[in-house]
Symmetry: C2
DNA sequence: TCTATATTTCGATAATTCTAGAAATATAGT
DNA sequence: ACTATATTTCTAGAATTATCGAAATATAGA
């Protein structure tokens, strides 16, 4: 992961509303959560919610699958693992140097 | 760590310039790096750099120690570890639930 | 096709952030 | 006190982001 990508992911998560959305999706597990369910939980305007979800989708932290009129959102664990991997490798220890930051699969 | 604190830390790191500042400080190790050295490395206006450093200091990710006319910046590993701990505990696995997210020391 | 539900897009405003030049401040040497 | 170096604060403009109501779109059932 390149540093600008990492910054983009961090920025996406660096908003209280978006972090709460993401955490709710994590807690929902593999079943995911419909946009409407998120809206009930977070109690923000649908348009505002849609705006924030899109920010998470654009960087790949969240994916969406349609089920009839409902859109189910899923947290993308793999992308989060890559981000955490980057932080641990590049930003946590003194030994951090320019190396490939790949996920330890 | 509370979710709003985590969001604040993520927001601080969620800017390419600030993430580069932070990474440079990590790479500098325990000796830290003077503001002026950061300015040479990143080649941005001093006032802009100061602005970004402050954003990192405010959330505790960076600390500063004065050495005569020079200000040495240090990455605060502990705060980063807490943040990563939060992400791993709350945002990485399906088992994430409402628990205390303390650093595993 | 008409209706209902779910969600997004549009449009507009308020608020925040980024950027950087100029001036101010801090520290120390002469 | 004067000078030099290092850094911050002030100020301001441009750009981006957050918010939300209203309208538009997507899907499916009657």
């Amino acid at each position: 992961m390149k540093i600008d990508d990492a910054a983009a992911h961090l920025e996406a998560l660096g908003n209280p509303t978006r972090l709460k959305i993401y955490r709710a999706l994590i807690r929902a597990g593999g079943a995911g959560l419909a946009v409407g369910r998120l809206q009930e939980k977070l109690k923000i305007a649908p348009s505002t919610l849609s705006h924030h979800i899109k920010a998470l989708v654009v960087v790949g932290l969240v994916t969406q699958v349609r089920d009839a009129t409902t859109l189910i959102c899923h947290a993308n664990y793999e992308v989060m693992r890559e981000l955490v991997g980057f932080l641990v490798a590049e930003c946590c220890t003194e030994s951090a140097e320019t190396k490939d930051t790949k996920t330890a699969a």
